[in-house]
């Protein structure tokens, strides 16, 4: 009956499985986008869905992102639950008017009468050697748009659990898929991902006492690595994976920072005007007197995403994270 592997091993497979299970459970779930049908998507994340559920449930659309999202809005108005794929982060931009003026606002505009249960899947971020317009980190735009949920998994299990939750949500969810983790297998959570993971809860991926790394999506594995490397310097770092940028889990994040007294926000998106500013500001507002040092940020530089041969200089890596940790005014310690 199923053309999808029963035991997903990669994040891409977990995402496929989440859509498959959602489609099997609820006939109103429809997948649509460029090349999602016969081809199974350029990342093969929708592989097998058209075959199993037919072209009416998993549809290759014309090449027009505003049209894709705009028609999905209409479908949602009629009671369907469209799951839209934007082929790459930068190719979601043509759909921004639909997203900002309708998707994010329809429930509000109609006093709750017309909610839009829509999931918008956006492969995002760099590190895959992609040419220009294929590696943007666009989460700042989504975060600044009230009415959207913004979710991003960093593990195979979360990829499944959060996508199920996103599809089940009665609100629009921008579901950001870290491209470079598509083929990652879970180091720390390899079991079959069948649990739905509620949206809005951060998780402590690694406990530590010295300082907190606050991160999400593609930077989670980098922070885990940094935390390992930090042991050599005598730092015991805690790593918080936000998972949901909207709603933001102040509780989990602040509990960690109050414990450690120091924090670094890490993300790949440009620093200026990026998510880190919001995160650092709200943590500081809430934990000021627990802070031994200002919350620092390690982020991509403030420039258009670089070409493949230079991207390693742009992306926050272990060294840059450890440098930031080193600047957390440890002298105050003694």
């Amino acid at each position: 009956m199923t053309t999808v592997a029963a035991k997903p091993a990669t994040m891409a497979q977990a995402l496929t499985r989440a859509m498959r299970d959602a489609m099997a459970a609820d006939p109103s779930v429809h997948v649509m986008g460029e090349d999602v049908g016969t081809l199974g998507g350029v990342f093969r994340v929708t592989d097998g869905l058209a075959k199993e559920f037919g072209e009416d449930r998993c549809t290759d659309t014309p090449l027009a992102e505003a049209g894709i999202l705009g028609t999905a809005v209409g479908m949602a108005m009629y009671g369907l639950r469209p799951v839209v794929e934007m082929q790459f982060d930068a190719f979601a931009y043509p759909a921004f008017e639909q997203l900002l003026s309708h998707v994010a606002k329809m429930r509000n505009r109609t006093r709750g009468k017309m909610p839009l249960p829509l999931t918008i899947r956006v492969p995002y971020g760099g590190g895959i050697g992609g040419v220009e317009h294929h590696s943007d980190s666009s989460e700042a735009y989504y975060m600044a748009t009230p009415g959207l949920h913004v979710v991003t998994p960093a593990t195979v299990a979360d990829a499944y659990g959060l996508l199920r939750a996103a599809i089940a949500s009665d609100d629009p969810v921008v579901f950001l898929e870290p491209k470079r983790l598509y083929w990652s297998k879970d180091a720390w959570n390899p079991e079959e991902p069948t649990a739905v993971e509620p949206i809005g809860r951060a998780v402590v991926r690694r406990s530590g006492r010295s300082a907190t790394l606050i991160t999400y999506g593609p930077s989670v594995p980098v922070c885990m690595e940094a935390a390992e490397a930090a042991r050599a310097e005598g730092w015991d770092l805690e790593v918080v994976d936000l998972r949901s940028l909207v709603p933001f889990d102040d509780e989990t994040v602040c509990a960690s920072v109050r414990r450690t007294g120091r924090a670094v926000v890490v993300h790949e998106s440009g620093g200026f005007g990026g998510p880190g500013g919001e995160i650092a500001a709200r943590v500081t507002e809430r934990c000021f007197h627990h802070l031994e040092a200002p919350v620092l940020r390690v982020a991509g530089f403030d420039l258009p995403y670089p070409p493949p041969m230079l991207e390693r200089h742009h992306l926050p890596g272990v060294d840059r994270i450890l440098d930031a940790v080193g600047r957390l005014q440890w002298e105050a310690e003694s």
Partner: protein, 380 residues
């Protein structure tokens, strides 16, 4: 067979065997806009329909006048009148069945009201107490769309969804001549044609997009000619001829309902008043043009026909006028009441459940309002 499969399996073939997917000839609009009133076709028109159209047209114009008056009294923030375009507004609403959907543009309050939405709820947006004032599901009317042409893909998606579900539903979407220049217009029409979705697109070509005349908007022979580029029929109609607009739209709705796919209808009409009460039309057009069009007034055209055929006498005119006055008086009275507003509503409908952040902000506002009330109390 699924909806998607119905499209057939067209594959490109090398030029020796090339042939167009569809015959373009039947897709092209006629050279002249279709007309009924004052032509032989009028004789075949249903008297009941004509009388109904007439009553709605008169009521529509009165509604426009009343709403504009309400802006002067500060009861409406702004009102874009559709005076001169009532034939399109009314026909668009009347051709639909209960189960069908209407997707209005920001100027189409009349169509919304003609479809059955409460006249006051239809003005909520423009009064400013909330955005969309009516429940879209009650009369199957999508929110009045301010961002131009953005409602068109919604209509396509909804119609497509209905078809997927096996429902016999047609969507009619309205847009202005200016709106046809937007990318969303293009994408919507293309999706509709590829999906053979049951949608009717009604373009009201009223000659202007605010101050910009048609000649700066398009170089096309007509806007209806755009249809052939999507593989759907284009129809040109005299937009001031209510009987003609009704007939052309009815045909298109029937065609869509029967699985024939979308149609693009261009109605040639004219915006007799300024863009909105806040606009000064004398900055960009002369009186004489407006006068010419007033000679082709939709109400006068229909009245002439009805009178000539003995379907309307002075008493009939008076009854219709009275009904319109009653509607206007009621609207006036209800609009003169201040709406009940709860600032806490701000936080109610951002998400199904307010986020923790919104709950905090709600408490902040509640505290502020309480403090304000205290202060006011203290001052008394």
């Amino acid at each position: 067979m699924t909806v998607m499969e119905q499209r057939g399996a067209y594959r490109p073939t090398p030029p020796p065997a090339w042939q167009p997917r569809t015959d373009p000839a039947p897709l092209l609009p006629d050279a002249e806009p279709y007309r009924v009133l004052g032509t032989e076709a009028a004789a075949k028109a249903d008297p009941e329909l004509l009388r109904r159209l007439y009553a709605e047209l008169v009521k529509g114009r009165r509604y426009n006048a009343q709403a504009t008056a309400l802006t002067k009294q500060g009861r409406l923030a702004v009102y874009p009148s559709s005076t001169g375009q009532e034939a399109c507004e009314v026909a668009a609403a009347l051709v639909l069945e209960e189960r069908d959907w209407l997707f209005p543009s920001y100027r189409d309050t009349l169509a919304v009201v003609a479809r059955g939405v409460d006249p006051v709820e239809a003005l909520t947006l423009l009064r400013g107490d909330w955005h969309t004032g009516y429940d879209p599901y009650e009369h199957r009317v999508a929110p009045l769309s301010t961002p131009l042409a953005t409602q068109l893909p919604h209509a396509v998606g909804l119609a497509h969804a209905a078809r997927l579900k096996g429902d016999d539903v047609v969507a009619l979407a309205m847009v202005g001549d200016g709106g046809t220049s937007e990318g969303d217009f293009h994408e919507a029409l293309n999706f509709a044609a590829v999906w053979q979705a049951p949608v009717v697109f009604l373009v009201q070509n009223n000659g202007f997009a605010i101050s910009v005349p048609l000649a700066k908007q398009t170089a096309a022979p007509s806007l209806a000619h755009k249809a052939v580029g999507y593989g759907m029929p284009g129809r040109l109609v005299d937009g001031n001829d209510a009987a003609a607009v009704h007939e052309v739209l009815s045909d298109a709705v029937r065609h869509a309902r029967a699985g024939g796919g979308p149609t693009l209808v261009e109605a040639i009409t004219y915006r007799v008043e300024a863009h909105t009460n806040a606009d000064d039309a004398t900055r960009y057009r002369g009186d004489s043009e407006v006068e010419t069009w007033k000679q082709h007034d939709p109400i006068a055209l229909l009245e002439r026909e009805l009178t000539a055929r003995g379907l309307l006498d002075d008493a009939g005119v008076e009854t219709v006028r009275q009904d319109a006055e009653t509607m206007a008086a009621d609207l006036r009275a209800r609009m003169n009441q201040d709406p009940a507003l709860d600032p806490m509503d701000l936080f109610a409908h951002v998400y199904a459940e307010p986020t923790p952040q919104l709950l905090e902000q709600r408490e902040q506002l509640r505290a502020e309002l309480a403090a304000e009330a205290d202060q006011e109390g203290a001052q008394r």
